[in-house]
C-alpha cells in the first residue's frame, strides 16, 4: 500500500512529498517527490547583476543564507577574476561558521520537535536567536542578510562586535553541554534514535550523500580540510565524525561540528582584532560598484574588452557539500548559473536508508537528514 507523507506533513519541514510503500508497519519502498518549492532561481540569476543574485542566495536556503552567499561569491570571483582582501575572507568564514551553528541549532530544534520533545525545541530556538542577533548587528538582517559582495563584504564589523561575539559563543558552549544532557542521556531520545536509518559510508558515497550524514558513518570527508577554500587552510579545527551511521551518530556529528565552529570563530575573531584593513577589493568592473546605472548602448559595451571566465566552487555547507558553477560571457549578467544542492541528494538516498524500518521511525530518520526544501528545489 502506498501512503503519502506530505506535502503538508509535520515530518517534511517544508513542501515535499514522501510516498511510502508499506506492508503492515514495515516500509518496503519509498519514493521522495520534490519540486513543490521550485522558484527557478538558476534561471532568474541569468537576468540579474552578480550582486543582485546574492539576494536570491539568501532565499535559496532560508536557514543558511550566508553559507550560500559564500558559495556563490567564491564562484563569481573566480569567474570575474577578482581577489578579495584577506580581511573580507576572514569575515566571510566567521559568518559561515556562525551560520553553521545557527543552522544546526535550527535542525536541533526541528528534529527534537519531530520526536515529541518540546523543551529542547525551545532551547534550540532561543539560542539560535543569539546568532541571529549577532548577524543583525553587522549585516542588518536577521534571516536575509545580503551581506557579501563580489570583491569583499558590504561593511566592516561594527565597534564592539568581537567582544560581543566572544560572549555569545562562550554562552553557547555551556548550552551544548545542556543539549547533550537533555537528549543524549534521555531514555525517550535514545530509544527512538539508536540504530535507526543506518547508511554505511560506501552506500552514502555511492548515492552522493555528503555532510554530517556521511561523516556519521565514519568517513572523514570534509571540504574544509580536503579542498580548503577561502582561509580554511590557515585555521585549526578537527573534522567531526561518528562511527554509528545512525540517527544518534548524526546528532553527535552536528553537536561536535558546532563546537568546532566555535573554535574556528574564536580564531577568526583573534585575527580580525589584530588586522584592520579594507573589506572591499579596490579594482572592480564598473557594474559591480555600488550603483548599477544603465550600461548605455550595446555597441559600446561590445567594444570594451570585458573579462570572460568560468567559476566553480564547492563549499561545506551545514547540510552537506554545495556546489556552484558560473559561466561569465563578458556581460553584466552571468550566462549560466548552476547550483548543486546537498539536500536533494540526501533526501533521494531515502530509497536506501528508509526501507526495513517502521512507519513510526520515519520522522526521526528524515529529521536527522536536516531537510531544507528551499535549497533542495531552488
Amino acid at each position: 500500500m502506498w501512503v503519502n507523507m506530505g506535502p503538508q506533513h509535520p515530518m517534511t519541514h517544508g513542501l515535499w512529498n514522501l510516498r511510502v510503500r508499506i506492508e503492515g508497519e514495515i516500509i518496503k519502498d519509498v519514493d521522495p517527490e520534490m519540486g513543490f518549492l521550485h522558484r527557478g532561481i538558476e534561471k532568474i540569476s541569468e537576468d540579474r547583476h552578480y550582486n543582485e543574485i546574492i539576494t536570491l542566495m539568501d532565499r535559496t536556503c532560508y536557514v543558511a543564507g550566508l553559507s550560500w552567499e559564500h558559495l556563490f561569491i567564491i564562484a563569481a570571483e573566480e569567474a570575474l577574476h577578482i581577489v578579495p582582501p584577506e580581511r573580507a575572507e576572514y569575515i566571510r568564514v566567521l559568518s559561515a561558521e556562525l551560520q553553521r551553528i545557527g543552522s544546526h541549532l535550527m535542525w536541533y530544534a526541528a528534529f527534537v520537535q519531530d520526536l515529541g520533545l518540546t523543551t529542547p525545541f525551545l532551547y534550540g530556538m532561543r539560542d539560535r536567536d543569539l546568532i541571529l542577533d549577532l548577524f543583525q548587528t553587522y549585516t542588518g538582517g536577521r534571516l536575509t542578510y545580503e551581506y557579501m559582495r563580489v570583491g569583499g563584504v558590504r561593511n566592516d564589523l561594527p565597534l564592539g562586535f568581537t567582544a560581543r561575539c566572544r560572549q555569545v559563543v562562550d554562552w553557547l558552549m555551556d548550552r551544548f553541554v545542556e543539549y547533550d544532557r537533555l537528549c543524549l542521556s534521555s531514555t525517550i531520545f535514545r530509544e527512538r534514535c539508536d540504530g535507526l536509518g543506518l547508511l554505511s559510508a560506501e552506500d552514502a558515497i555511492a548515492y552522493g550523500v555528503t555532510g554530517p550524514m556521511l561523516r556519521s558513518a565514519g568517513s572523514r570527508r570534509d571540504l574544509r580540510k580536503d579542498r580548503p577554500y577561502s582561509v580554511y587552510g590557515q585555521l585549526q579545527f578537527d573534522v567531526a565524525t561518528a562511527n554509528t551511521a545512525d540517527v544518534t551518530g548524526r546528532y553527535l556529528v552536528r553537536m561536535e561540528e558546532m563546537r568546532q565552529a566555535v573554535k574556528i570563530i574564536r580564531q577568526c575573531l583573534d585575527w580580525l582584532d589584530d588586522n584592520p584593513g579594507p573589506v572591499m577589493a579596490s579594482q572592480l568592473p564598473r557594474w559591480l560598484g555600488a550603483p548599477y546605472a544603465p550600461v548605455g548602448n550595446e555597441a559600446y559595451l561590445l567594444k570594451r574588452n570585458y573579462p570572460t571566465g568560468l567559476g566553480f566552487s564547492m563549499v561545506e555547507e551545514p547540510h552537506g557539500e554545495a556546489g556552484a558553477y558560473i559561466v561569465n560571457d563578458g556581460g553584466e549578467h552571468p550566462y549560466r548559473v548552476k547550483f548543486r544542492s546537498p539536500v536533494l541528494i540526501n533526501i533521494w538516498a531515502a530509497k536506501r536508508y528508509l526501507p526495513g524500518y517502521r512507519v513510526a521511525d520515519i520522522p526521526p530518520i528524515m529529521g536527522s537528514v536536516d531537510v531544507c526544501v528551499g535549497e533542495c528545489d531552488r
Binding site: 539576494t55 564592539g160 554562552w171 554505511s200 554509528t244 579594482q283 559600446y300 524500518y357
Partner: protein
Amino acid sequence: MAESGAQAPAPIPGTEQRPLLWVTRPLATAARQFAKSLWRPSTIIYPFERLEDPKFRGEVAVASGKPIGVGEIWDNYRGVHALNINTCISCNLCAFSCPDVCIEMVTVPGGDPKHPKKCPQIDYGKCSFCGFCSDACPEGCLSMTTRYELSVHKREDMVYSPARMFEVFKSKLPMNPIRVERPKNEDQILLDPPICIGCNACSRDCPTQCITMLDIPKPTPKPGEKLAKRIWKEPVINDSDCVRCGTCISVCPKDCLFWGTRQ
C-alpha cells in the same frame, strides 16, 4: 536490507545503562533553566517593550553587561526607508539598483516645470529589504531606519510615497550609517565628439549639474564640403562631482556618451 554494511551503534561514553540518571538528568537541566528564566527572560514583552527602545540598543547592552539573549536593534538594521526630499537629486540610482523593481520615481512639488523633481516611491509589497537602494544613494538621502512595523489594512497602503517616507525621516529614527565604498577603477562617462550635436540634453538633465557645455571652434568648410548641422558646443564632465547615474547616457539622442576609462 538497511542493516547491510553498517556497524552496530557503539555505546556513547558517559551514558551507560543507568536508568535513574537517564530520567533525572534531563529533568534537572530543564528545572535549572526554568529557574534562570524567571529573572533572566529570553523574550521582550512586545507591545509594551520595543526593540527601538534605548535599553535594547546593542551598544548599551554590551556596555552595561546586560544578559545576552534579549532582543536588540542596531543602527544598521534594514527597516522602513527614510527619504530626505530636500537633498534628493533625482538621480534615479535607487530605482536602477533595485533587484525587485519596486521603486518608481514620482514627481514631487519643488522642481521647475521643464525639469520636474522626481523622488523614489517604494512598494513594500514587492520590497525585499536588501538595502541596495540605500547603498547606491550618492547623497545619503535615502536610508533605511530601525522601524520594522509595516502592517496595513489595505494593499494600497503598502506603497510609500516620497512624502510618507519624508515623515519617517522627520521622526529622527536611527538611520543606517553604512556607505559602500566605490571601486577606485570606476568607469567615467566619455564622449564620442564627432557624433555629438551639442543639443544640451545631458547638461540639462544632469542631477548634479556637473556637465558644462563649452564652445568649440567652428571649422571653416573647404569649398564644396557641407558642414554638419549642429550647435558648436560640447559637454565637459566634471568627474569629481559625477555620481555615475547614467542619466546623460539615457537622454542622449545620438548615443554619443558611453562608459569607459580615460587613457
